[in-house]
């Protein structure tokens, strides 16, 4: 090896050391820090514009730190463990927020809520359930979603289904018709487990009702109860009849949505964010796709809808709590910011002042469906404590793989859930 080469090699290894001089941390006085899971090009850009609007109004700079959805859970936990939570962060309303409140990491916002008169701004459907914990307000809803049976309009019409199936019998009849037409009725992409939860949610809500479900979610009812068994047996009978696509566990929710978009399957039980996805690949709301609400199963059971609420919370030791409160107030009560955000995310705004003209036909229908319902319930993994949710989500995936041993699965789930509740 000659000498010149050798020098070149050493230089290549050592030179970059010099390049690291200009890295110093920065601090700023009047700013609020925010961390959130709204990534993706549209999400980041849209939020930036909204935050710029806030700066123009209040003079407060918002330091923005987006982290992808799944990684956000890790990121925020590490920062909580390091006592370095940002002033404001996005979080899922429900059991997850309760978990963080129990750990003493959040700051109540009752003062701001009353002063800003948010009672008149936030939609009743989500107001108390999502924002109030142990009698205090902690969270403002930034946007929320509804989950329903989204379908490919052409495929449904071809099978002669033009009316929403109102009852379970009608729904099964529709599935049968689709099958006879050579289309798989239902697409499900349960690779990441959570898309399967909506089936469990709706089946248990429509048979045992919201009160029983609440008990199951907080550990006072058991997965070995006949109520759960009944819901799972309904689900099983549908899988047995071949209404679900094969290999649901191999697909992500977008794969399942693609199957519906292509017409390989007719419908999928999914949240309103699917409209954002479908619109982005060129499908037209109301023309190419639409949705039906989940049908009634047992008559007389109160009508509930399911969906997640994206919330914003303030951490207990926020460095700039006043600024954080101003930011939260702005983000929920400014109709323009809310309208813009709802549009970008394919979400519904929790602000009642957002003009209906901001929504497309499908989203308007979703709003009406929610208004007509007696209860807004959070989906499974947001209703039950995180350790239990992990157990349940795995149960759904296992069930989809082989529904025949549903009894064993339920018994094991109850055992694991009981020990998870005990933690």
């Amino acid at each position: 090896m000659n000498k010149r080469r050798r020098q070149l090699l050493l230089a290549a290894v050592l030179a970059p050391v010099m390049a690291t001089a200009s890295m110093v941390p920065s601090f700023a006085a009047d700013e609020v820090t925010i961390s959130h899971y709204f990534t993706g090009e549209l999400g980041q850009k849209g939020l930036k514009e909204i935050l710029d609007g806030f700066k123009a109004k209040s003079g407060i700079t918002v330091k923005d730190s987006p982290i992808g959805h799944e990684d956000f859970k890790t990121g925020i936990l590490v920062r909580a463990a390091g006592n370095a939570l940002p002033d404001v962060f996005s979080y899922w309303a429900g059991a997850r927020t309760q978990f963080v409140i129990d750990a003493g990491d959040l700051r109540p916002i009752d003062g701001m809520w009353d002063k800003a008169g948010l009672d008149n701004v936030v939609a009743k459907s989500v107001a108390d359930g999502a924002t109030k914990y142990d009698g205090k307000r902690y969270l403002v809803p930034f946007g929320y979603h509804y989950s329903g049976l989204f379908f490919n309009k052409a495929v449904m019409e071809k099978a002669g289904i033009t009316e929403a199936p109102k009852t379970w019998e009608e729904f099964l009849a529709a599935c049968e018709k689709l099958k006879a037409n050579g289309v798989t009725p239902i697409a499900l992409g349960s690779k990441n487990r959570w898309p399967a939860q909506f089936w469990f949610d709706y089946l248990i809500l429509r048979t045992a009702g919201p009160d029983y479900r609440a008990k199951l979610m907080n550990g006072t009812a058991s997965y070995a109860d006949p109520e759960v068994k009944k819901a799972m047996d309904l689900w099983k009978s549908m899988v047995d009849k071949g209404y679900f696509v094969e290999n649901a566990n191999a697909d992500s929710w977008t794969d399942a949505s693609d199957k519906v978009a292509r017409g390989d399957a007719a419908m999928t039980l999914m949240g309103t964010w699917i409209t954002g996805y479908w619109n982005s690949i060129g499908l037209k709301p109301g023309e190419d796709y639409d949705f039906y609400p989940f049908p009634e199963v047992t008559a007389g059971v109160p009508n509930a809808v399911v969906g997640p609420v994206d919330g914003l919370v303030i951490s207990a030791n926020a460095k700039n709590p006043e600024g954080a409160e101003q930011l939260l107030e702005y983000l929920v009560s400014d109709p323009e910011a809310q309208a813009k955000w709802a549009n970008i995310q394919g979400a519904l705004s929790a602000n009642v002042n957002v003009a209906k003209s901001n929504y497309n036909a499908v989203m308007l229908k979703a709003l009406d469906t929610i208004d007509a319902a007696q209860t807004f319930a959070f989906n499974y993994d947001l209703s039950t404590p995180p350790p239990v949710a992990e157990v349940g989500l795995s149960m759904f995936a296992r069930f989809m793989d082989d529904p025949s041993n549903v009894d064993t699965i339920l018994d094991e789930t109850q055992a694991s859930a009981a020990s998870a509740f005990a933690e």
Binding site: M23, G40, A81
Partner: protein
């Protein structure tokens, strides 16, 4: 250096009597087939990068596209944030690679040439540092750097990658230095050279190949790392390319095409580093492995 080993019976100085030898053809076909198999996944990334997300969603990813869509590349290359990501990643990967090798050289030399009572145990402890999942030390390290006020700078990543590289660098350097003949060192010391001079003038030049191997590996691993930037950076200006790649995907949106294009662009530096260093480390093992 003498010309090298041959597997078939052609080539080299020894030439067989003229008779058709099928081996090179067989080997070539073997390699060619394997190469096609190996390229298939990469080809998949390439395909995804020249299709729109709509095509990937509705059509078929594996179909050869009738027309190329370059929009993904345009979007990635014209995005100023991406340039920042690349620069940040370089500013982390290059010094961390250099530091970890430097520290590995120091430690490896002692373990190879100046063993002491219990040095085996210390070496064992150091090497064991490469056998645990990094998630184990996430929280304590976040606390440490938070205390030092270094969160949202590039420093924690440089420091952590330096430390995480110590085990493998020490291991490789120790093995390499072990092949430097002891009499050589002793003679130099008798002539009045210091230990430092032995290390830098005798041992180090011989082990440049090992350094080249380590430089390639460390640079590639650090460049492609995702976990530490996730934990230690907060603002977009400090993000690395892998975070940029992952966060292209939104809460409820996908961007397969852009991710494909961006990942191919992101892999170029590591490929260049490999091509640059590989001539050194192929020469390399030569000395380390057998002589000694």
């Amino acid at each position: 250096m003498a010309d090298t080993a041959t597997l078939g019976s052609t080539s080299g100085d020894y030439v067989a009597p003229k008779r058709f030898n099928p081996w090179p053809v067989v080997i070539f076909i073997c390699l060619f087939t394997l190469a096609i198999l190996f390229l298939a996944p990469t080809f998949g990334v390439l395909l995804s990068s020249v299709k729109t997300t709509r095509d990937i969603a509705l059509g078929d990813l594996w179909a050869i596209p009738s027309s190329m869509y370059w929009g993904n590349y345009v979007e990635v290359l014209s995005n100023p944030a991406v340039h920042g990501y690349m620069l940040n990643t370089f500013l982390v990967a290059a010094p961390a690679t250099a530091f970890s090798i430097a520290l590995g050289v120091l430690a490896g030399y002692v373990f190879a040439k100046l063993p002491f009572k219990g040095s085996d145990l210390v070496f064992l402890l150091v090497v064991s540092g490469m056998f645990f999942p990094p998630q184990v030390i996430l929280i304590p390290l976040f606390r440490l750097f938070n205390l030092m006020g270094l969160i949202d700078t590039l420093w924690p990543m440089i420091i952590v990658h330096t430390a995480l590289g110590i085990p493998i660098c020490t291991l490789l350097m120790r093995n390499f230095f072990a092949t430097v003949p002891n009499p050589l060192r002793e003679a130099a010391i008798l002539e009045g050279a210091s230990e430092w001079q032995v290390l830098t003038k005798i041992a180090l030049p011989i082990s440049l190949p090992a350094i080249a191997v380590l430089a390639t590996l460390q640079f590639t691993w650090i460049w492609n790392d995702f976990l530490w930037p996730l934990i230690f950076t907060q603002s977009d200006e400090k993000r690395t390319i892998m975070l940029g790649l992952v966060f292209m995907k939104g809460q409820y949106s996908v961007a397969w095409g852009i991710q494909g294009a961006m990942s191919l662009i992101a892999s170029l530096p590591t490929l260049i580093v490999f091509l640059f260093f590989q001539r050194y480390f192929i020469k390399g093992m030569t000395m380390g492995a057998v002589k000694g």
